[in-house]
Symmetry: C2
Subunit: 279 residues, 2 copies
């Protein structure tokens, strides 16, 4: 099922890249995995990392520096791509960076011509998870995290699937997509123009509606150029404060939206998740 494309030793573990035929997405997909050294002895817990707009599975793998602490804590990192891929997969008509290829927004599209391929919710939550747990030395303890569009994806998928993820964290998430340009564009294109159809993928709205959430940890840079218009940090904070969610939201002075921000705090996120990834 899995075709191993590459394997490189890193911090005593293995940084791997796989290719497989996705039934859910109707295309060939690639994803990356870091297996810590502990995985040679026994199955290890897994942290799923959902990346942001324009990324593939390789950005986080090469730029976040997460392997160091993941190796120390014995966590596998599972890093999917950000959209279906391939010549048959429809892209934004204008080749925009914020819709279509590289911008799947972790939803199951209902609109044509996207519905056939853009089923990233089911891909991450079901197909990739089952594949990884069947074929790699990971156990069923799992958490989820992500950046920007992937931060939205991580929180939304955790809220939509109670009990599936032990904890959730995000860097600069698009936390309230129904109310920002990126989210409205993507949700209109994938889910249709009726905002009612967006509610079940909008983290702020799901929290406001009382959906249960695993422990949540968010870092947001206050020098992030996308903070004012796109990211909904304040709305997320208000929603968490008025709910019963165990949430820690940090506004980090001076940090922007880049992988230099992620690298600076990824260890805190990994340690946060590790405390919940034990039986």
């Amino acid at each position: 099922m899995l075709n191993k494309l590459s394997s490189v030793q890193c911090f005593g573990g293995q940084q791997l890249r796989f290719e497989h035929s996705s039934k859910v997405l109707n295309c060939t997909m690639q994803f990356s995995v870091f297996l810590p050294p502990q995985a040679e002895q026994s199955r290890v817990p897994a942290l799923y990392w959902l990346s942001g707009l324009t990324c593939t599975d390789e950005n986080f793998s090469s730029k976040a520096g997460a392997q160091r602490t993941a190796a120390e804590l014995g966590l596998a990192l599972i890093i999917p791509d950000t959209s279906p891929r391939g010549d048959d997969v429809p892209d934004a008509e204008d080749g925009a960076y914020d819709f279509g290829l590289g911008a799947g927004f972790y939803v199951n599209a209902t609109q044509e011509p996207f519905a056939k391929h853009y089923q990233m919710d089911s891909y991450v939550v079901d197909e990739l998870r089952h594949l990884v747990e069947a074929e790699l030395p990971v156990n069923s303890l799992r958490s989820i995290a992500g950046h920007s569009m992937g931060g939205h994806g991580a929180i939304a998928l955790a809220l939509r699937n109670p009990g599936l993820y032990r904890s959730v964290s995000a860097f600069a998430p698009i936390a309230h997509p129904s109310s920002c340009p990126w989210g409205r564009k993507a949700f209109t294109g994938y889910l249709g123009s009726d905002p009612k159809a967006w509610r079940d993928y909008d983290s702020v709205e799901m929290i406001q509606a009382g959906k249960p959430c695993p422990p949540l940890f968010v870092d947001q840079g206050d020098a992030d150029q996308f903070l004012p218009e796109q990211l909904g940090f304040d709305a997320l904070k208000v929603a968490c404060e008025s709910s019963q969610i165990d949430a820690t939201l940090r506004l980090q002075a001076g940090y922007d939206h880049s992988y230099y921000f992620i690298a600076s705090f990824i260890t805190d996120h990994l340690r946060f998740h590790a405390q919940y990834l034990v039986d």
Copy 2:
């Protein structure tokens, strides 16, 4: 003199990119710098990082994860490009990756048409150093390190300039360029076909000739695809063992030539240098 292109906060310090007009190279150059948080209070020591074939200043900046430990230790990282750049700069006729642009080999070329621009030795040792120490909050305590072609550069420049660098380290250096295909091609092109002209840029030959060397630390992966033909690790080991150099050479089981290898051990290198970068 320095035009700041970007500044991003990282581990409490600043990841910076600059552009300047290089008199030595006769072109516009870009380079990257990490300033640790300690540089806001006082001048800090600097580690120069020389990158490998095909790299710019951005590979190490984004992939090595060095800022974490550099911030902890209070070290600045100075990261030059790997060759002169620009439309006026001659490249390899066949566009090869291992000669010309991205492959300056840290020598002062004597051969046409390269001599006008390919003066990377003087650029790193003199021009960039003076510029950095005049315009940035670094002091005159400095060490040098690099990867592959840049590992060759680091060791060769340290050997050619006694007293200039407090310590030197390398990942998978091209330690004996006169005896490998990469080195022979580059040295022939830049320095001419007489191997006598290569000796003063060949680390193994300089060590054999008794040149003094600051404390040296080398990591080499034993799964490095370039180890058998290009890297001269055994020759370097023999040369060091027969000299009075304070050298530690480690063969790391399972590691390849990539930035995943560098990331795995960069903290050891930074700690090695830090012990010598004190008054």
